[in-house]
């Protein structure tokens, strides 16, 4: 919403400065986006008089002038044809910035003659495009500020433009008068009365209007208009053109400019039909499918059933409340004009405007809510302005429908206002504030004015009182804790778990990424998602069409981007939501890590090697341990399709998968443009069980003073036998005595087969025996060892390696 200071002063009697007004507007909730004050750039310039002008000795078109200024007589070289003795001019001194030529002046020498400044043209001061000569003022004293002279003699030229942002609840402030009312309520002046003198009709209106019964209740409660015949639709007067131009509107003709003026001045959009082009009577009715209209913006709109139009006998002439039609629009040839003032239902206007994608000033206002009670007053005022500017004679007013009754009242509870806002606003002030805003008070009940459709409850009264009182004045008051003493923990166990996973991964050397929650359809499908219910209906790009089913695609895409920038070795992770459905809550937490390339840069110690699944497994286990997963889990090979089928595994507790780790499927890497090797893991923290009770006490520690005994075994087994089978078998040989079993070596591949036979490998275990009661004797140790060998060979089908 844009307006000028002088426009505001049409409605507001005020002595307040521009700065005070701007500050108050922002504080009132009418946030000032921009103030353009033409006076600011003209501030340094003063008025001077040319005392003497003579031909420049070395240039035909230049004159050397002696000029009387506030700093005495100065010599100025001037090229303007009208530079001559006796004229009053606008002086720019050395050091001044001249906006129209974007130059800061200095003392110059022009063809050998010193020049101390310049005398400006209108264009050089950005006052107009006039550049035929320097400004000659009809009045003014030497030394007087040029802006002061302008304010007195050409106020429009220094009229500041104010641009405010209007929140959707304040349609009343979409008219200058509404803005003035807020400022007056704040105490920044007095709202000038608005007198509405009905214009008597001189003849019956030849155009009849009818609202279709289907729309009378809702779409169009009230439609009024009248014919004005014999008008001359020339250009509107300068003051009106100037105002429209300043707020960014193009003056078109007096009739159109008047409707625009009412839109911005009083938030009363109007429409003018060229009566000669209206056939028969006007009907406000729902459009029929297949109807269309060439609108004033030059576009043809296909209408759908139910959209509201104003139609004559030949069809739609106007998109009601949104935009008029080209065919019945007014032009310089218009002699008889039908002036329309109607009240349209905001919801209907919004729906139609949205469907047709038309953003007009009228739609913007009607969908937020104009004052229904002002419909007829607006018509009368506009009629008068048409008569004043264009002449002619007005008919009687034709009306269908009636002003809808919006009367309602809410209780003003001054104590509650104080309690909610936390400011001591006396009851009298509260009441005065509401009255200044147009509320009618009866006892403790306040009836909002017809121009405030947003006021729909007691809370709205509180807001009005508070914003007029000024929230800038609000002083903070401590909010006491609900309980005394040391506050308890506030994070939930799952929130702590998420944090632990994140911090552990960073400690393991991974860089945390935050990637988008949506990915493209192909990747969604490749990672088990892409279902219709996870599709976004209005995606912002084809790369972001589906909710991500997994965090890995985002990390792989990040890896590909980084590889393209020359970073081949990567450790990336993300902790965040993945989506297994499209319903609220069909999301779950994942912690995913991705290792790509080598474990380390090249160094003198041969640290560098390609990442492998045991790196991923180690890191996954570290995270699982950090979030409280038990050390013993089952491992299966039931992995999803984006994992290498032979080089990945799932860690699970019964039916609950805690983690999957392994190599990313080479086909996936190829699709996503990632150069391998790439190993990864995905952890589902929500699947890790929480302890049934949370007790800080640790179980007792039983240490034995007796010497532990380590024994190593090597078994020859089939190459496909998993080490865990051997480990579990060995551990089961004597649960009391065997403290741990660990794989410390494996021998596989061609060399192993040469030694141990085709399809064979060897696994080496170290077993630690921890006696509890007495030192073990050699025969006892031998007995346990024999049992271990027996169990392992039975479980694996292998043999002790000779």
């Amino acid at each position: 919403m844009k307006f000028t200071l002088s426009w505001l002063k049409d409605h507001l009697d005020t002595e307040a400065s521009l700065d005070e007004i701007a500050e108050a507007l922002t504080d009132l909730g009418l946030e000032v986006e921009e103030v353009v004050n033409p006076a600011a750039k003209l501030a340094p310039f003063t008025i001077a008089k040319v005392l003497h002008a003579e031909q420049h000795p070395d240039a035909d078109k230049l004159r050397v002038c002696r000029v009387q200024t506030d700093e005495g007589e100065k010599q100025i070289v001037c090229g303007a044809p009208n530079a001559r003795a006796g004229i009053t001019v606008v002086l720019c001194k050395p050091g001044d910035y001249v906006p129209g030529i974007d130059v800061t002046l200095g003392v110059g020498k022009i063809r050998g003659v010193e020049s101390h400044g310049m005398m400006a043209s209108e264009r050089e001061l950005e006052l107009s495009d006039e550049h035929n000569g320097i400004i000659e003022l009809p009045s003014g004293e030497v030394g007087q500020l040029f802006v002061d002279w302008l304010a007195e003699n050409r106020p429009d030229a220094v009229d500041p433009m104010i641009y405010i942002k209007i929140t959707p609840n304040r349609p009343d402030a979409l008219g200058v008068r509404g803005v003035a009312r807020d400022l007056a309520a704040r105490g920044l002046g007095r709202l000038k009365p608005l007198a509405v003198e009905p214009v008597p009709g001189g003849f019956p209106c030849p155009v009849s209007v009818t609202i279709d019964p289907a729309l009378k209740d809702k779409g169009c409660p009230l439609f009024a208009g009248r014919l004005i015949r014999g008008v001359v639709n020339g250009p509107s007067p300068d003051w009106l053109q100037q105002r429209l131009t300043t707020i960014g509107l193009r003056p078109i003709s007096a009739l159109v400019d008047i409707t625009n003026f009412f839109t911005f001045d009083l938030n009363r959009p109007l429409h003018v039909f060229d009566a000669a082009k209206v056939k028969g009577s006007l009907t406000i009715r729902p459009a029929c499918d297949g109807e269309s209209l060439l609108a004033l913006d030059g576009k043809t709109y296909s209408l759908r059933a139910g959209q509201m139009v104003i139609a004559d006998d030949t069809g739609p002439e106007s998109l009601a409340g949104i935009m008029g039609g080209e065919a019945s629009g007014c032009s310089a040839a218009t002699v008889d004009v039908f002036l329309e003032s109607a009240y349209w239902d905001p919801i209907t206007i919004a729906a139609t405007g949205r469907a047709l994608k038309i953003n007009s000033d009228a739609r913007y206002r009607f969908e937020r809510g104009v004052d229904p009670a002002f419909t007829l007053d607006g018509l009368e005022l506009a009629t008068q302005m048409v008569l004043d500017m264009c002449g002619g004679e007005a008919s009687d007013v034709v009306i269908d429908g009636a002003v809808p009754d919006t009367t309602r009242a809410y209780r003003l509870d001054p104590a509650r206002v104080i309690s909610l806002v936390g400011m001591d606003i006396p009851e009298a002030t509260q009441r005065a504030t509401l009255e200044a805003l147009g509320f009618a008070l009866a006892g403790d009940m306040a009836t909002p004015p017809s121009w405030r459709p947003d006021v729909l409850g007691e809370a709205d009264l509180v807001e009005e009182v508070a914003r007029i009182a000024s929230l800038t004045q609000l002083k903070g008051k401590p909010l006491a804790r609900e309980t005394m003493g040391v506050p308890g923990p506030i994070l939930t166990p799952m929130q702590m778990r998420e944090k632990a996973a994140r911090r552990t991964l960073a400690a393991l050397g991974y860089n945390e990424c935050v990637t988008y929650s949506f990915i493209d359809a192909a990747n969604a499908a490749m990672f088990g998602g892409g279902a219709e219910v996870t599709r976004i209906d209005n995606p912002i790009s084809s790369e972001m069409t589906h909710l991500r089913p997994d965090l890995l695609p985002g990390l792989l895409q990040a890896a590909a981007r980084n590889q393209a920038r020359g970073h081949a070795d990567l450790a990336l992770f993300e902790v965040g939501p993945a989506f297994h459905g499209g319903e609220p809550g069909e999301q779950h937490l994942q912690a995913a890590g991705l290792l790509v390339g080598a474990t380390a840069p090249r160094d003198p110690y041969a640290s560098r090697r390609p990442v492998d699944i045991y790196d991923a497994k180690a890191d996954a286990e570290a995270v699982l341990s950090a979030i409280g997963a038990p050390a013993k889990v089952q491992i299966s090979r039931k992995v999803a399709g984006w994992w290498h089928p032979g080089r990945s595994g799932v860690m699970a507790l019964g039916p609950k998968a805690l983690c999957v780790f392994g190599e990313v499927h080479p086909r996936v890497l190829r699709e996503m443009g990632v150069k391998g090797p790439a190993v990864a893991f995905t952890i589902w923290p929500e699947n890790v069980p929480f302890p049934k009770t949370k007790v800080p006490t640790r179980p007792a520690l039983h240490l034995s003073d007796l010497q532990a005994v380590d024994r190593d075994f090597a078994f020859v087994v089939d190459a496909g036998v998993e080490a865990l089978v051997a480990v579990n078998a060995a551990a089961g040989a004597d649960k009391a005595l065997i403290e741990s079993v660990r794989v410390f070596d494996q021998f596989t591949g061609d060399k192993a087969e040469v030694q141990m036979g085709p399809g064979k490998k060897s696994i080496a275990l170290t077993v630690r025996l921890q006696p509890r009661e007495r030192t073990l004797t050699e025969p006892e140790i031998e007995a346990v060892c024999a049992k271990i060998i027996d169990k392992v060979t039975k479980a694996t089908g292998g043999a002790l390696r000779g």
């Binding site: 909010l479 860089n511 209906d537 909710l547």
Partner: protein
């Protein structure tokens, strides 16, 4: 006893001359071994008169101790010399690089979320969460944004596809964290104090917007919680978060459908030379929106507005991170550029706490 002096001289000389441990051992055996000269002399004592035996025995013992000490000293000296020689040979180039170790980082969004949680935890706020796919009721209706409200259009909402035959209004990707207010109040009732950080989504992508970003919602409901309390809480938050001794906030009346009165909050700052300084200067920067929870919102969440009142606020986490840590571009937050992650990321153990400070 001249023979004892000769013995001493002979052995001490031999010990000093020995060049290795084996030589020393030979000398020890020759002198102090079972058949060594000193041992034999000791044996001879038995044949002496008691008086003579006493005198000779004492002298022999002194000699024996002397030789023994000399042996030990020489042995230690030889060992020292050998170690010196070994150490001299064991030279390594200490300027070679250390073994490489990967250094991980925490994303600024996570770090700032933890900072925010730490501060509000100290003021008694718990952390609530909610789904990111929301029903339009939680995202809009319950927050007093009816279907035809212009604010709905201004939210640039992402809508989920609806299966054919599913006549329900489409779900949305939550456009703000405010629906968590409703869920938290419905679950926990009043009084309540929570913050709700998390991802939010709007259909907007340009220089300063990304279709996903992060917000933190705050909600405090009690018997007499006022807007003045809100201002204090935000002042405390900003002072602590930006790690300055003083902040000045300005409340400006505004409009949000879910609060009434509503205020946008500006913070005093300066931008000298492109460097943002919070708490001083002549500029104001908008940092968040806030207000008193609308009675309709309380009612939608099952809290009686006649009995309870309180405030809510929402601010951008990414923006807080940008302002505090001087990060210029929002889009880079989600690009996972390793150089960016390393530069703007935080160490794994940089855990923000109120007692230890938020940042290093």
């Amino acid at each position: 006893m001249a023979d004892l002096d000769a013995l001493r001289g002979k052995y001490i000389y031999a010990i000093q001359s020995a060049t290795d441990e084996a030589g020393l051992e030979e000398i020890r055996l020759a002198a102090l071994g079972k058949k060594g000269e000193i041992s034999l002399k000791m044996r001879e004592l038995g044949q002496m008169e008691p008086a003579a035996r006493q005198a000779a025995g004492a002298r022999l013992n002194v000699l024996k101790d002397e030789i023994d000490a000399a042996l030990r000293a020489r042995k230690a000296a030889l060992a020292d010399a050998a170690l010196e020689a070994r150490l001299a040979a064991e030279w390594l180039d200490v300027t070679l690089p250390a073994r490489p170790r990967r250094v991980g980082t925490i994303h600024p969004v996570s770090q700032v979320m933890e900072e925010v949680s730490a501060i509000f935890a100290d003021m008694g706020f718990a952390v609530a969460e909610g789904p990111q796919v929301e029903s339009d009721w939680f995202n809009f209706d319950a927050l007093n944004i009816p279907p035809e409200h212009p604010a709905r259009q201004e939210h640039d909402t992402f809508f989920m596809a609806r299966a054919e035959g599913d006549a329900r209004p489409p779900h949305v990707l939550r456009t703000h964290t405010s629906p968590v207010q409703i869920r938290a109040m419905a679950d926990l009732g009043a009084p309540i104090r929570v913050i709700a950080p998390g991802r939010v989504y709007r259909m907007d992508m340009d220089q300063t917007h990304t279709p996903m970003f992060h917000q933190v919602e705050g909600l405090a409901i009690g018997r007499d919680i006022s807007m003045a309390n809100l201002k204090w809480v935000l002042e405390e938050f900003c002072r602590t978060f930006f790690e300055v001794t003083d902040v000045e906030l300005r409340f400006r009346a505004s409009h949000f459908p879910f609060t009434e009165p509503s205020a946008e909050v500006d913070i005093r700052c300066s931008w000298d030379g492109g460097q943002l300084k919070i708490g001083q200067g002549d500029s104001w920067m908008e940092i968040l929106g806030s207000g008193m929870v609308h009675p309709k919102v309380l009612a939608a969440a099952g809290v009686d507005p006649a009995e309870w009142q309180g405030f809510a606020f929402g601010m951008g986490i990414d923006r807080l991170a940008m302002l505090k840590y001087g990060i210029p571009d929002l889009r880079a937050f989600f690009e996972s550029d390793l150089r960016w992650l390393r530069h703007y990321g935080f160490a794994s153990l940089d855990m923000p706490t109120v007692h230890g400070g938020l940042s290093r």
